[in-house]
Structures are given as structure tokens and as C-alpha cells.
Subunit: 257 residues, 2 copies
């Protein structure tokens, strides 16, 4: 009897060529599918909540796959992790594995997706400990102004101004349920201003979060007024927004079903 498994996965995106299979580079999907095969002898295809680009990290990516073999939560989690480590994929970890019904679908069943974008600002020196983990910039950012700008994005809008050219979605309409810019007190960041931008929506356009962050930063530096975000959104024109924020500051944090 086939059992569907839901796995929650953490990964360091700087070590892989993104989620999806690549001809010449190791992807997170390939590493996980090889580990599932090494443990079970079966070759199920993984379906994922959100394909991430090279460099993008995950704290709580979700995927599902079907196994003929009977197993337990603990065995699936620990065996896949052990096989990943045998193959030296130390940058991928299965945080939990849960049996789910055959109606569960990691991508189509997602009701809410949470992304966090991390910035290390107000710091002249490049980060050593957070290299490839944050977007580093020398300027200090005004969190209050960024939050004021961000609130214009809340709700149901045409997000064409924040949509990458390669986006394959049928519609540019999306509903953003939360955008929040906070300053963190985490001592482990080291010197500088540690900022997180949290964005939540049922689904996102391609590069939507990175494009939003890219346009909130000039609001934080004072180059743009917060109201500029409303103007960019209303224009429905990608050329009105700022450049895309780099991949390595982005974390796919959580999916709710």
C-alpha cells in the first residue's frame, strides 16, 4: 500500500544550484531523491511547495513523495538525513517527516507561504560569519520608513511591478497578507544593523519577494519616500521598481496547509 510522506526541509542554498534538477549542477531535489532511493530502494519524484533559485535558503520548505515501503516518521527522517550525510550533503536536513493522506499536495495544497529576507546594514566590513546568508550594505536603513512603504503592498493587487520577466503564472494578481520589517537584536550577527523583512501570501509571483525587498531598501536609505511603493505598485510596470535583491538573503521559512 502506497503511503504519502510530507517532509519539512532546511537547506543552505549557497551550496546548491537551487531546488530543481539541473543538467550539470547538484540541486536540492536531486540530493533528496538520491537519499530517498538509497534508503528505500524506490525512486519517487518529489513535489515541492516552492521551487527556490540557486542561493536561496530554506528553514521550512515542504515536499511530498510516495513510498510503497512501510516506515515510521523517525525512520524516514533519520534515514534520509543519514544518506544525505553519506553523500556529503551537509547543507540539507530533513527536519520532520510525517505520513499524510493521498489528498495532500505540497504545492497545490499550500494555504500560506512565509518568506524572510535578511539584511546586514550599517556596516563597512563584509560579513565573515554571515557570508552568503544576508544582503550586506554599508548604509543604515530606516525601519520605520520601510514599514510605512511596505504597508502599501498589503492586500489583493496586480503585482506586475514586482514580477520577474520569466514568471510563468497566469495572473499577476496576488494577495499579500503580511509585510513586516524588523530590526533583530541577535548578537550572533556581529557588528551592524540586522534587519528581517517577512512577507506572507498564499502564493507568490517569480522573484516577488526579492523585488519587494529591492524597492524597500531605497525607502530605508531615504532615497525614496514610503509613498513611492504605492506609485510603483499602481504603475504595473517592472521598470518602475528597483533592482531585484540578491538571492542569498532570502529564506523560505514556512508553509501552512
Amino acid at each position: 500500500m502506497t503511503q504519502r510522506w510530507k517532509i519539512t526541509v532546511e537547506y543552505d542554498g549557497s551550496l546548491y544550484a537551487g531546488w530543481q534538477f539541473q543538467q550539470h549542477d547538484m540541486s536540492i531535489q536531486q540530493a533528496l531523491e538520491e537519499a530517498v532511493f538509497a534508503f528505500s530502494g524506490e525512486s519517487p519524484r518529489l513535489s515541492v511547495a516552492g521551487r527556490t533559485d540557486a542561493g536561496v535558503h530554506a528553514l521550512g520548505q515542504v515536499a511530498h513523495f510516495d513510498l510503497e515501503r512501510e516506515s515510521t516518521e523517525k525512520t524516514v527522517r533519520d534515514a534520509v538525513n543519514a544518506k544525505l550525510r553519506e553523500q556529503r550533503h551537509h547543507g540539507i536536513s530533513v527536519v520532520t517527516a510525517e505520513p499524510v493522506s493521498e489528498e495532500f499536495h505540497a504545492r497545490f495544497g499550500a494555504q500560506n507561504r512565509v518568506y524572510i529576507y535578511r539584511i546586514l546594514a550599517a556596516r563597512a566590513a563584509p560579513p565573515a560569519l554571515l557570508r552568503n546568508r544576508v544582503w550586506h550594505m554599508r548604509d543604515r536603513l530606516d525601519i520605520t520608513a520601510m514599514n510605512a512603504g511596505a504597508q502599501h503592498l498589503l492586500g489583493h493587487h496586480d503585482f506586475s511591478s514586482f514580477r520577474a520577466a520569466g514568471c510563468q503564472a497566469n495572473s499577476p494578481l496576488r494577495t499579500v497578507s503580511l509585510v513586516e520589517v524588523t530590526e533583530d537584536a541577535d548578537a550572533a550577527y556581529g557588528a551592524g544593523q540586522a534587519i528581517s523583512v517577512r512577507v506572507e501570501a498564499k502564493s507568490f509571483l517569480y522573484h516577488q519577494v526579492r523585488n519587494i525587498v529591492g524597492s524597500l531598501v531605497p525607502v530605508g536609505t531615504g532615497k525614496w519616500q514610503p509613498e513611492k511603493i504605492a506609485e510603483i505598485l499602481a504603475a504595473c510596470d517592472r521598470t518602475k521598481a528597483a533592482a531585484t535583491a540578491p538571492a542569498h538573503g532570502l529564506y523560505f521559512a514556512r508553509v501552512d496547509y
Copy 2:
């Protein structure tokens, strides 16, 4: 005219063989001295506040050196960072450079040293994003009990029970001015219980912080009562304490002069 420079340095200890010169492996001291030479053409020896072992990280290590060449804070900081990156030492970063008087001494002038030890507990899966940055364990830890145990260490004591065999200090007496165990809410840790142990003293014995953390963990799991820490301290016997906590959870956070 010779100018003494104080530099504050952040580094990822997992990429280097510790602070001090090694015959066959790259040390942080060697990488920095080569970068200073590449920038200035001079070969000053660096003096450091605290030599760290392989694997140990720094958020605010302090070192000093003398240069004949005149320069500015910005030039020293940015030039050394640029030379480090040319040599692909991305794991080391000079956060600040300041001219100081010739009386300044990074090691002998230190009035207070701050270490932070990071633990990722209550988590079955190995950390992907914090690999080599935290001590990972499956058990949940009782922070209240750990803090109760830690308070026995405050003040002026013979710390022989927490002193490594190779320690070259003349005396086992040290004055611990702060020990604090906190649970962090940092979302970037991912799943699990994120714990920091902060320890402050004017100076430390060899492995003192790692040995203290090693003995606070069994208090956190409930294997030992908090009062056991007082017994261990009073015994002045290394064999009474638990094993040394691993190097890769330790951060040299700050030095005050």
C-alpha cells in the same frame, strides 16, 4: 613615525586552524599578517586578545600591530579586507581599525572578555544552515536550571575543575563576572531550541568556557541538579566536571579595554 593600530576582527573558525600560526594549516593570524603585508609592504607581528582554537569563531576578536606607513581608519580596514578577499579568505573580516597609543596592548590591556556559546537543542535533525556554528543536541534543555547552576560560578574562585590539561596560566584563580543562559527567538535558527550561554571575565583559563558549558548541559537535561556545579567547582578536580563542549559552538564576542 610608528603608529599602533587596533583592529576588531570577525571570523568563521570552521575555515581555519585557529588563531595561531601552524606549520601546515592556514591560521587566522597568518591570513591577517599576509593581508597587512600585501597592503603596506611591512611585516608587523600581530598581538591578539585571545588565541582561539580551530573551530572557534569570533565576532569581536581584537589584535594590534605597528605600521611605519601613515594611513587612515578607513584605509586600513578596507585595504586589509580587500587583500583578504584577493587571497580568498572570505571567512575573516576586519570590522574596525583604529589608531591607538603605543601603550595599548590587545592582550595585556584587556579588562573584560566576553564569550558566547551557542547550542541548538530539542531537535532531531542535524542543522543545515547552522552547521559548524552551534552545538547540536536532541534533548530539550531547562534554561532555568542551567541559570541556577551557572550562578555558582560567579565571582573569584579556583577554576581547576574547568581548566584544560594544557593550560599554561600561572594560577587557576579567575573572576567570572557574568554567566547567563538565554533562549533566543531568532527565526533564522530554524526548528529547535536556540540557546546562548554568555560568560564574561577579565581573563580565562584554557578551555574554561567550553568546560563550563559542558557541565551546564547535564544540568539542563536534568541529569544533574544545579547544585552539582558548586560541588564540581569546590572539588578543584577536572575529572569531576563533564566533557569539554565542542569548539564550533564558541564565539569570542567582545573585549573591553
